[in-house]
C-alpha cells in the first residue's frame, strides 16, 4: 500500500522551508567569511529534509531540542529568520537576545529550547519535556535532534531508556550524516545502523531516507502520533549527509570527493524540485517565486540583524538568575 502523498501546496511549503534553510546557511557562511558574523559555525547544508520533515510533522505547541548544528532545526520549527540572523550577529534582537549564539539558537515562543551544544546533551533534557507533557496531560510531543556521533554518549543511553520505561511522548531523531566531526561512524561503532541500538531499550526504530523530505515527514508523523497517543518514544534514524565541513574551518580531508559527489546527487531540495516538476505540481515560475520570497526574507533578516543594537553589558548580570 503506497502511503498517501501530501498535497502539492504542502510539498511546495516543504520545498520553501528547505530552500530557506539552504540559502540562510549560504548567506551566513558568506557573512561569516566577511567578518560580519563572529565565532564559529556548524552548518547543515544537505540535511534540510530532516529538520523540515520532522518539524512539519509537529504541531505548533510541540517542542524540539537541538544541537551544535541548529540553524535548520530553528528555521524549520519557526524561529523567524530575523531573530535567528540577529542571534548569529550577537544582537539584542536575536532569539536569545545575543546571549546564545549560533550553537544555542532557540525560541520558547515557537517551541524550541536553546540548542544544546554538548553532544548528547539534549537527549536527557528532552525526557523532562516529555515528562512534563505526560504529567500535565497536555498532549504535546517533544522531538530531540542529534547526530549519529551522539549515540555513543552515555546521555543517549540514559535518555532513551528513561523515555522508554516512562513511555514518554518523545521522538528521537538521529541525523546520521556518517561523520562525527572527522570521525566516520564505522570507526566508532560495530553496528552499521543507529536504529540497531533501539532494541536495547524496547523502542521502535525506523531508518528513513533523510534526503527525502516526504519520507521523513511520513515517518515522523507516525512517530509523533504514537508519542501523542501515549505509546512512548520512537527512534528515527535519518540517513543524510552534510555537504559542508563540520565547522567553518574544516577542509574535509577525512572523506573523499567521490563520496561527497554521490551524496550531492541526492540533494533533498533538487530532488523535491524534480519530483514536483515531474508530477506537474509546480512549474519553474512557482520555484522562482519561492526563491524570490526566500531571498527577500533573508535580505530583510540580514538588514534587520545589521541594524539591530548590540546587547547592553549592563543588563548582563540579570541574566544569570531568574
Amino acid at each position: 500500500m503506497r502511503p498517501e502523498r501530501p498535497q502539492p501546496t504542502v510539498l511546495l511549503e516543504l520545498y520553501r522551508t528547505m530552500l530557506l534553510i539552504r540559502r540562510f546557511e549560504e548567506r551566513v557562511y558568506f557573512l561569516f567569511l566577511e567578518g560580519e558574523i563572529p565565532g564559529t559555525l556548524h552548518q547543515c547544508q544537505g540535511q534540510e529534509a530532516v529538520a523540515t520533515g520532522v518539524c512539519d510533522a509537529l504541531e505548533a505547541g510541540d517542542w524540539i531540542t537541538s544541537t551544535h548544528r541548529p540553524h535548520g532545526h530553528a528555521l524549520a520549527k519557526g524561529v523567524s529568520p530575523r531573530a535567528a540572523m540577529a542571534e548569529l550577529y550577537g544582537k539584542e534582537t536575536g532569539c536569545c537576545r545575543g546571549r546564545g549564539g549560533s550553537m544555542h539558537l532557540g525560541d520558547p515562543d515557537v517551541g524550541m529550547l536553546p540548542a544544546i551544544a554538548i553532544v548528547g546533551g539534549g537527549n536527557t533534557v528532552v525526557t523532562g519535556l516529555g515528562l512534563a507533557f505526560k504529567l500535565g496531560r497536555t498532549g504535546q510531543v517533544a522531538a530531540c535532534f542529534f547526530g549519529e556521533g551522539a549515540t555513543n554518549e552515555g546521555a543517549f543511553h540514559e535518555g532513551l531508556n528513561f523515555a522508554a520505561v516512562q513511555q514518554l511522548p518523545v521522538v528521537f531523531v538521529c541525523e546520521n550524516n556518517l561523520y562525527g566531526a572527522s570521525t566516520p561512524w564505522e570507526r566508532v561503532s560495530l553496528v552499521p545502523s543507529v536504529a540497531a541500538r533501539a532494541g536495547a531499550y524496547g523502542v521502535t526504530a525506523q531508518v528513513v531516507d533523510g534526503m527525502d523530505v516526504v519520507a521523513v515527514r511520513r515517518a515522523a508523523s507516525t512517530a509523533v502520533a504514537a508519542a501523542r497517543a501515549g505509546q512512548g518514544p520512537t527512534l528515527l534514524e535519518c540517513a543524510t549527509y552534510r555537504f559542508v565541513g563540520h565547522s567553518r574551518s574544516d577542509a574535509r580531508g577525512y572523506r573523499s570527493r567521490v563520496e561527497e559527489d554521490e551524496w550531492r546527487l541526492r540533494d533533498p531540495i533538487v530532488g523535491l524540485r524534480h519530483q514536483l516538476l515531474e508530477e506537474g505540481a509546480a512549474d519553474e515560475a512557482a520555484f522562482d517565486a519561492v526563491g524570490g520570497e526566500v531571498d527577500a526574507v533573508l535580505d530583510d533578516a540580514v538588514e534587520f540583524a545589521r541594524s539591530s543594537p548590540d546587547p547592553d553589558p549592563a543588563e548582563l548580570l540579570a541574566d544569570a538568575y531568574a
Partner: protein, 347 residues
C-alpha cells in the same frame, strides 16, 4: 532553632521528618511539584536513601513520584527539561558523591539555560543531596558543595537543623532557579545521633506553614571575640567549642550558620567580623578551593581593615575521605582542630 516569630504550636522533628513535611506540603500546594530519583517510591522500599520520602507514595502516587533507573544523567536532565516546561521537580541524589555523574546537566544545562535563552526561560528545580563522612569510604563520604558554589546560575543551600531544613526546602521549591540542597548524613535523625556525637538531632518546627529565605544566614550564638562560620556537623562542633572556650578561656565566639552558600549573606557575616575582628571558617568539604576560601577571600577584600588576626579555615584535609574511623576522624574538622584555630586567632 526557632526564630523569634515561631508560633505557638511546634513539635520537635528530625531533619528527615521536616524535609518530608516540606515536600508533602509543596506537593499539595502546587501540582507542578514532583519527585524524581532512584529508590524513592518503590512499594516496600526505602523512601530514598535516607527515608525522607517514606510514605509519600501513598498520598501522591507513582506519577508524581517518579522512580528512575540508575541513570543520574537522566534524572538531572529530566529535572532540567521539566523545569523548563514550568514544572518544579525535586530531584534526589542518593549520595552527593554521585552528582559527578550529572555535572553536565547541572553545570552546562541547568545553570546556563536561562542565560542562553536570553533570560526567557528559567529552571526551577531542586536537587537534594546528602553529604558527609560516615565510614563509607572515599566515594560515599564527600561534601562537594563547593563545586556548586562556583557555578553561576545555581543556588546552593546547606541545612543543619529541622527548622531551617523545612523552611529552606519550601523556598527552594518556589525559587525560579536551580537549587542544590545539601544535607548531612549524620544529621538526618536518630540513627546518626551517636556518630554525630550524641547531638539532639531534632528541632522545634511550627505546625503552621512558614518559609525561610534563601540567602539569609543565621547567628546561632552571639559573641564578641571571634566569628565562626560553619555548616552541617561542623556547625555543632563550633557550638561545642564556643561553650567550651567561653567557660575555659573567656573567649566568646559568635557562631554563624550561612545556610546558603550561593548567594552568600555577607551582610550578616561582615557585621559579625566587623564586631569581632576575627574569622574562622569551618567546613567538611576539603580545604583547598572549598567555599571557606570564598568567604575568606571576600573578607580579605571587603573587611580587611577590620581584621585583627589572620583568617583561619578548618576543613577536611586535602585527601579523599578514608574508610578507617580513626583516619576519617583525622580528616574531618574536629572539635580539637577548631578549638586550636580559634585560640590561635584570639591569642
Amino acid at each position: 532553632m526557632p526564630t523569634p516569630e515561631t508560633p505557638r504550636g511546634t513539635r520537635r522533628l528530625t531533619i528527615a521528618e521536616a524535609l518530608r513535611e516540606a515536600v508533602a506540603e509543596e506537593m499539595r500546594r502546587d501540582e507542578s511539584v514532583f519527585l524524581i530519583g532512584e529508590d524513592i517510591g518503590i512499594e516496600g522500599g526505602f523512601g530514598g536513601a535516607f527515608g525522607v520520602y517514606l510514605g509519600l507514595t501513598d498520598e501522591f502516587g507513582h506519577e508524581r513520584i517518579v522512580d528512575t533507573p540508575i541513570s543520574e544523567k537522566a534524572i538531572a536532565g529530566a529535572a532540567v527539561g521539566a523545569a523548563l516546561m514550568g514544572f518544579r521537580p525535586i530531584a534526589d541524589m542518593q549520595y552527593s558523591d554521585f552528582l559527578f555523574e550529572c555535572m553536565d546537566e547541572l553545570v552546562n544545562q541547568a545553570a546556563k539555560m536561562r542565560l542562553m535563552s536570553g533570560g526567557r526561560l528559567s529552571v526551577p528545580l531542586v536537587m537534594r543531596a546528602p553529604v558527609g563522612a560516615s565510614v563509607r569510604g572515599a566515594q560515599h563520604g564527600q561534601s562537594p558543595e563547593s563545586y556548586f558554589a562556583h557555578v553561576p546560575g545555581l543556588k546552593v543551600v546547606c541545612v543543619s537543623d529541622a527548622y531551617h531544613a523545612k523552611g529552606l526546602l519550601k523556598s527552594a521549591v518556589r525559587d525560579d532557579n536551580p537549587v542544590l540542597f545539601f544535607e548531612h548524613k549524620l544529621l538526618y535523625g536518630t540513627k546518626g545521633r551517636e556518630q554525630a556525637g550524641g547531638l539532639d538531632l531534632t528541632a522545634e518546627v511550627p505546625e503552621e506553614e512558614y518559609l525561610f529565605p534563601i540567602g539569609q544566614a543565621v547567628v546561632k550564638r552571639a559573641g564578641g571575640d571571634v566569628t565562626l562560620v560553619a555548616t552541617h556537623v561542623s556547625l555543632y562542633r563550633c557550638l561545642a567549642v564556643a561553650d567550651e572556650l567561653s567557660a575555659a578561656a573567656g573567649i566568646e565566639c559568635e557562631v554563624i550558620d550561612p545556610l546558603t552558600l550561593l548567594p552568600l549573606d555577607t551582610e550578616t557575616l561582615w557585621a559579625s567580623v566587623r564586631k569581632t575582628g576575627r574569622l574562622v571558617i569551618v567546613h567538611e568539604d576539603t580545604l583547598t578551593g572549598g567555599w571557606g576560601a570564598e568567604v575568606a577571600a571576600r573578607a580579605a577584600d571587603e573587611c580587611l581593615y577590620a581584621l585583627e588576626a589572620p583568617i583561619k579555615r578548618v576543613a577536611a584535609l586535602d585527601v579523599p575521605i578514608p574508610y578507617a574511623p580513626v583516619l576519617e576522624q583525622a580528616v574531618v574538622p574536629s572539635v580539637e582542630r577548631i578549638e586550636t584555630a580559634v585560640r590561635e586567632v584570639c591569642a
